[in-house]
Amino acid sequence: MTNTAGPGGGIKLTIEGASKNFGGVRAVVDVGAEIREGEIFAIIGPNGAGKTTMLNMISGFYHPDEGSINFEDHDISHMGPSEIAALGIARTFQNIALFRGLTVLDNLMLGRNVLMKTGVLSAFMYWGAARREEVEHREKCEDIIDFLKLTDLRKTPTGALAYGLQKRVELGRALAAEPQLLLLDEPMAGMNQEEKEDMVRYVLDVNQEWGTTIALIEHDMGVVMDISDHVMVMDMGEKISQGTPDEVRADPKVIEAYLGTTDNKEVA
């Protein structure tokens, strides 16, 4: 695995004028952004700013009412989630969505489902190609298990794991698909300091060792400012700022969104 990390590569994902309404609620309004190959791209903003809707549009749960989303050469605006997954976009969820009855290993193997081909008949016989495929993909999963330090838990049902570990398995499941673009929805939410540090380390390692492009939503500003190459700030469904962490930090609009306007302060 070569180091292809660092922003400056080609553009991986382009969002153009994307809007999404739910009834009268304008969840995302005319947002445009570019995610470059190999970078860590953070989306931040107050609650209800439309960050998760944004991610849901990229991963195909919602389709933008207006505008378009392009991944490499593909227009993915109206593709279904499974088609988008097949293109190489994987994601994790804010609320953990693991397959609770299955072991850690099986969860990771499911992550590779999109890369496997075994049909019904060969699965029924489990001979030759089907068996070879299982072993081959098992090896890849073991790499990820090693990487995420889950070795002793590989045969534990995920429902029995602690919260922080479940988050890690979910990251593992997304990684198992060998994604080009990894979407992380609040990967560190609800974690203690130690678990957060671990998770940041894994995210950085994924980015640097495997060159995976990462788009993440996170509320921990310390983490976001430390690891991101670019930050997009959203509020009330609109993009209010974008740039490097330093640029965003200095932007008066961002300060306004997070802390309220100076006018209000004077009144108060």
């Binding site: 991963s59 749960f61 279904g80 989630p81 499974s82 997954a85 097949a86 994987a90 994601r91 969820f93 969505a97 693991l98 397959f99 609770r100 009855g101 299955l102 099986d106 193997m109 499911l110 992550g111 489902n113 999109v114 496997m116 081909k117 075994t118 049909g119 019904v120 699965a123 029924f124 016989m125 489990y126 089907a130 068996r131 495929e133 299982e134 072993v135 098992r138 090896e139 073991e142 499941r173 997304a174 698909a177």
Partner: protein, 355 residues
């Protein structure tokens, strides 16, 4: 019984992923094979073999239903109808075209799979109870169609006489001869189901059961996978129907009515949802239950009622016990007999040092 892992070191992933990674498991399977393939036909009379035949047929049907209900969480109350599709397909092929069993069996299964997938189409939109009602409708529609189409049902009585299966020139006429025929099919069905659920296909079924949204996001085409589940499940049901038809020597829709669907659901629930072993346990349990009840009632029942009323009482008693058992299992052990077996095994894993 002594299910201990220590001391066995697997050096390849292949060994770790084997169906029976421990030698004890392999010995147990060989023992079971010896009992059923050599000892049973040697020592048991035709009556007992016919009971095992019934169990073998039920195992195939229960496996099919468990793949759908237990592994994919798509409920079906129309499974008996899929069995009848298999049964009538095979009966028509065997009588009109004079085809041998090794064509009628897969053909019956394939036809049932086709109809099953058709019934499964609504499963993309409707879930749970609503899907149950849709499959219930399918049960009645299929039953009605078969019953009212003379070309399928073979006339007014809606029953077709089935020729005996012929195996390399030997006609399998009595229960003892049918025994090997049925039990080999059941064995293939079991191994196939075990393989299926540990492979890519089976995992994607479980993914849909546990987290449909997450299943979609990791690239599983939910609709297609549900249809595959319906197809495989109905294939098993169809084969089960063909087996039953060969067993009885006649294809008759009355053997595949709603109550049969409920029986199979009971097998799957009592045996254990999402477990191949559970399907086998459930099939054995539900098939043996009426026989056991009859034996008990015939010996002690005469104390309470006279002989004339006994037959009536036995029939009702079966239903009462049946309903009671389903309720008891749902409350006490929702994971069924398979879970009980698991508990016993776990106990002996650490026995005698349980900590």
């Amino acid at each position: 019984m002594f299910h201990r892992e220590s001391g066995y070191f697997k050096t390849t992933y292949q060994a770790d992923m084997a169906l029976y990674p421990l030698p004890i498991g392999r010995y147990a399977i060989i023992a079971v094979g010896v009992v059923f393939f050599i000892l049973c036909p040697f020592f048991l009379g035709e009556y007992y073999l016919s009971i095992i035949n019934l169990v073998a047929i039920a195992v195939v049907g229960a496996l099919g239903l468990n793949i759908l209900v237990g592994y994919t969480n798509q409920i079906s109350i129309g499974h008996a109808a899929f069995m009848s599709v298999g049964a009538y397909t095979a009966a028509n092929l065997a009588t009109k075209l004079d085809l041998p069993f090794w064509i009628t069996l897969p053909a019956g299964g394939a036809m049932a799979a086709l109809i099953g997938m058709l019934v499964g189409i609504p499963s993309l939109r409707i879930k749970g109870l609503y899907l149950a009602i849709a499959t219930l409708a399918a049960q009645f529609i299929i039953e009605w169609i078969i019953n009212h189409t003379p070309t399928i049902s073979g006339g007014v009585a809606a029953s077709i006489e089935m020729p005996r299966p012929v195996f390399f020139g030997i006609e399998l006429a009595n229960q003892a001869e049918l025994y090997y025929f049925l039990i080999v099919i059941a064995a293939i069905a079991i191994v196939g189901a075990l393989n299926l659920v540990r492979s890519r296909i089976g995992r994607s079924f479980i993914a849909i059961r546990d987290q449909e949204i997450a299943a979609e996001i990791i690239g599983i085409n939910v609709f297609k996978t549900k249809l595959i589940a319906f197809g495989i499940s109905s294939f098993y049901a169809g084969v089960c129907g063909v087996m039953y038809t060969y067993y009885l020597g006649v294809a008759n829709y009355e053997n595949f009515q709603l109550i049969t669907s409920i029986d199979y659901l009971a097998m799957v629930i009592i045996g254990g949802l999402g477990s191949v072993l559970g399907s086998i346990f459930g099939a054995i349990f539900i098939t043996m239950l009426p026989i056991a009840i009859r034996l008990i009632m015939e010996s002690v029942g005469t104390i309470f009622v006279d002989d004339a009323a006994l037959a009536q009482v036995i029939a009702q008693f079966r239903l009462i016990i049946f309903g009671g058992l389903i309720i008891v299992f749902l409350i006490v052990e929702p994971d069924g007999l398979a879970k009980l077996w698991q508990n016993i095994r776990n106990y002996f894993r650490f026995w005698p040092f349980s900590y």
